[in-house]
Amino acid sequence: MKTIENQGELWEVFIQSKAGQPFKHVGSIHAFDKNMAIENARDTYTRRGEAHGMWVVKSQEIVSVSMSEAAYFFEDMKEKIYRHPTFYNLPEGVTHM
């Protein structure tokens, strides 16, 4: 069977492993429409019970920071230790901070 040149648009796949957990980016897939995208993502990334929830979004719809912008966009914070809330004494038993 001939491989086609046009493999559809690129979509990014996000998977939630458990209810309440954040969705994490796992990779990308090609597809021609929404249904095909969600099914290709399912068949590529969730066959081993990894997923509880899944989002698929067209790569071109994602707004991102370019590599050249990154230097000034994500300003170095090493000199500004006052921005890090590390001076608090946490009560015992608090784990997710």
Binding site: M1, I4, A31, D33, M36, N40, D43
Partner: protein
């Protein structure tokens, strides 16, 4: 253990086994990577289903055999799959249409099989119906997509439908095995499965801009062990390893 019980299992298992082999022939040859993975996943699901069924009757078979023996060491006329699943991968449209007919059949058959008086079959269908439901959803979308696609995709879909339609009545052919299993409450009424199946076919045909085929020709035989010329070639390849190395293990 009676012959009809074993034959019922062989009919179901061989449908999945031979179809899985046909699909696996396409592995690495799909039109694009994701579709290649998807259709191969479907093949794996069918191998899993066949394995469950064959393992269950293997130790009740005479002489006693393993599931692998039943899969790989029978001769052509002992396979009970319907002729549809052994038809070749002529083009992508043929793969899709063949799969659509069988996925729709499996959906209604296994849905009804969840009510089987046979505990094993009932449990197995409960477990399998989730993946079968997904197969039908995925394949129905391909039918609609090809039917609403380019001039070429419409032509190929229509031609695959015409070519394969004559093999569909066999799915609902009531063999002595099916009759016995229905009377015992083990397997569903194939007439009822057929009417649900036809309704689904009409729905998807409508959405795919295809006309209901006028051709009423029907080709039977597979369920009784009389196959088309293709099964011999499939078995030749499928059984090559076990014939050459009879003691090979996984």
């Amino acid at each position: 253990m009676n012959t009809a019980y074993i034959n019922l299992f062989l009919q179901l298992a061989d449908n999945s086994l031979i179809l899985a082999h046909r699909l696996s022939e396409n592995c690495s040859k799909g039109p694009f990577l994701e579709e290649d993975l998807a259709i191969t996943n479907v093949a794996l699901d069918h191998i899993g289903l066949a394995e469950n069924l064959l393992n269950h009757i293997a130790n009740q078979h005479t002489p006693i055999q393993t599931g692998d023996d039943l899969a790989f060491k029978r001769k052509e006329s002992d396979y009970r799959n319907c002729l549809l699943v052994e038809q070749p991968n002529i083009d992508f449209a043929h793969i899709i249409v063949r799969q659509f007919f069988i996925d729709a059949f499996n959906f209604y058959y296994y849905s009804a099989l969840t009510r089987s008086k046979d505990q094993f079959l009932s449990d197995l269908s409960y477990k399998s119906i989730k993946e079968i439901t997904y197969h039908l959803r995925r394949i129905s979308e391909w039918m609609v997509r090809l039917g609403n696609g380019t001039e070429e995709s419409k032509r190929r879909l229509g031609s695959a439908f015409e070519n394969l339609w004559k093999f569909t009545p066999e799915l609902f052919e009531i063999t002595p095995t099916d009759e016995w299993a229905f009377q015992e409450g083990i397997a569903p009424n194939l007439k009822a499965v057929q009417s649900d199946w036809l309704e689904k076919i009409r729905e998807i045909l409508y959405m795919s801009n295809l006309k209901f085929p006028q051709n009423t020709k029907a080709i039977h035989g597979g369920k009784m062990g009389i196959h088309t010329e293709y099964l011999g070639y499939i078995l030749c390849e499928m059984q090559y390893l076990t014939n050459k190395y009879p003691d090979a293990i996984w």
